[in-house]
């Protein structure tokens, strides 16, 4: 995730067409009952409802809440709890962490010593090579999960692997992908990252099939939509895993799903992921930490405990638009994972809301003024 420095820019109008009417969700300050009667000076000067909405947003707003890290309550305030906690820290950093680092290193050695030969020597024999690479990627992901002492409980019948199927899940951190990948080799669509992560993306993940996008490029969306469609139609491509929120959210809320995954003409299999925050807060707050720091934090915690639910595959219903389909699936996932839904587009982390929303408010006020002017 590119760091969020520098000015926010107004969102491109393409992004707006995705969203249903947020006014249906927003708390409208002083539940604006339609004022009646002749227009008076006090009506024009009384801007209190709008000011109340603005002040309400300053004091608390549902968008910021989605990206708030949940640091666990400190429990070491006490004479005997403090030494216990210190002991815990020592254990975690000096015993657990090195042990995990060793496990991870061993995993990488095994993986690379198998992957590199397979990749280069079996260049001619594609089917076998792909199969082996798939297994190897699942293997290295299992090593990763082991390096955080990941306790992952999978629920629900895993949908059988068929063509014309995509998987969608709520997004909390990049580890979501690793946790799901250790069970099934998915192809994934991700933001291209810099650094070592980017290197991994271009070499290893290429082998399971990956699609890159670039948030900051407006035209990118069409290109990506095309790639998604091509991939999902292909018979022997790995099933696609898509995170329709488009950004990491803190596992307490869910932001709006982008409709891209829902208009491919495929069955959508929802997957819900919920982390147990008693053990660690798995939310990757990309504004606060780099991915490396995030991984280190996980490796020095006690465990990563989470539940993964494979939910019933859904199809587009007749007469349903892609946006309605996306919202319906979001509902299914949010209910299962205990997430609260908010009406915001995750990309508002990187850009400002479109003027359309403000204009809607202006229009309704203008109409009410003109209407009441006529009344006697």
């Amino acid at each position: 995730m590119s760091s969020n420095q520098g000015k926010l820019k107004p969102s491109s109008s393409e992004l707006d067409l995705d969203r249903p009417n947020i006014e249906d969700y927003l708390p409208s300050g002083a539940s604006i009952q339609e004022p009646h009667g002749k227009l008076r000076l006090s009506d024009l000067l009384d801007i209190s409802p709008i000011l109340t909405e603005a002040a309400g947003a300053i004091v608390d707003d549902s968008f910021t809440r989605c990206f708030k890290s949940n640091s666990p309550e400190p429990w070491n305030w006490n004479v005997y709890l403090f030494p216990l906690w210190c002991f815990g820290v020592v254990f975690r950093y000096l015993i657990l962490f090195p042990a995990r680092a060793i496990v991870l290193t061993i995993g990488w050695i095994i993986f690379l010593s198998c992957f590199i030969p397979v990749h280069f020597l079996l260049k001619g024999n594609d089917a076998l090579r792909k199969k082996l690479e798939r297994v190897l990627v699942e293997l290295i992901c299992s090593f990763f999960v082991a390096s955080w002492t990941g306790v992952v409980k999978y629920h629900g019948p895993r949908p059988s692997m068929r063509p014309k199927q995509v998987f969608v899940a709520n997004h909390t951190s990049m580890i979501d992908f690793i946790i799901l990948e250790q069970m099934t080799a998915f192809a994934v669509i991700m933001q291209k990252h810099p650094g070592w992560v980017g290197l991994l993306q271009s070499t290893i993940l290429e082998s399971v099939g990956c699609i890159w996008f670039n948030r900051s490029e407006a035209k990118d969306r069409e290109i990506v939509a095309k790639k998604l469609r091509e991939h999902s139609q292909g018979a022997d491509n790995n099933p696609l895993l898509i995170f329709p929120e488009g950004t990491c959210v803190n596992n307490q809320y869910s932001v709006m799903f982008k409709k891209g995954a829902f208009e491919l003409g495929c069955t959508v299999c929802p997957v819900a992921i919920k982390y147990n925050k008693i053990f660690v807060d798995a939310f990757w707050n990309s504004r606060k930490q780099s991915f490396t720091m995030h991984l280190l934090q996980l490796m020095t915690s006690w465990a990563v405990v989470c539940d993964v639910w494979y939910l019933e595959p859904q199809n587009l219903r007749p007469g349903e638009t892609a946006i309605e389909f996306a919202e319906r699936v979001r509902d299914i996932i949010s209910v299962r994972a205990g997430l609260r839904k908010v009406p915001w587009d995750g990309y508002l982390k990187y850009s400002r809301p479109s003027p359309k929303h403000r204009e809607r408010k202006q229009q309704s006020f203008a109409e009410s003024v003109l209407r009441r002017l006529e009344e006697k």
């Binding site: 008076r40 000076l41 002040a55 968008f63 403000r358 229009q363």
Partner: protein
């Protein structure tokens, strides 16, 4: 931010409370401080306009730019004082005074026809023409006994709005 330990001392809290004329309880001030720190992402001790506008609910408000002029760059104490008009403990006069300040952009204690026209423009956008706006404003001003040249002061606002009985309150979430 997730910063559960407030860095405010009891003394700081009392000082802020005094400054806002006890509009908020001590617990509310602690909550407001957490919120302030959450908004102040670069830790500069004040919330910049960019940081306010990154709250989408605020950015879509028609009066956001006007309010930004009043709230941009305030430190925490002034931030709480700014919000004090929205406390349920604030008096009607304080609320009317806040509204007056929103209109009186040059802060000279007088609201002109153009000031009112500007706010009306913010509220209605491109959905009413400039001429229509002038017409509407002149008409309602006339009916209330003012003219285009009238300069309204706070007591005028009190007279006009005092009887509307409006509610202008926000609730500060307290854990």
């Amino acid at each position: 931010m997730g910063n559960t330990s407030s860095m405010l001392t009891q003394y700081d809290i009392e000082e802020v409370q005094q400054h806002c004329n006890k509009a908020f309880s001590q617990q509310e001030i602690v909550s407001l401080y957490e919120r302030f720190c959450q908004l102040d992402r670069n830790g500069g001790g004040f919330v910049s306009a960019e940081e306010f506008l990154s709250v989408p609910e605020f950015a879509v408000n028609p009066l956001s730019l006007r309010l930004l002029r009043m709230v941009d760059g305030l430190n925490f104490k002034e931030f709480v004082a700014f919000l004090s008009a929205f406390s349920p403990r604030a008096t009607l006069l304080q609320k009317i005074e806040f509204i007056f300040k929103v209109y009186d952009s040059d802060g000279n204690g007088k609201v002109t026809f153009n000031d009112m026209l500007d706010v009306l423009h913010d509220l209605t956008g491109q959905f009413i023409s400039e001429n229509q706006r002038k017409q509407v404003l002149t008409q309602v001003l006339g009916e209330a006994g003012y003219t285009k040249e009238s300069l309204l002061v706070l007591s005028d606002f009190v007279k006009i709005l005092g009887s509307s009985g409006f509610k202008m309150e926000v609730e500060v979430p307290v854990d």
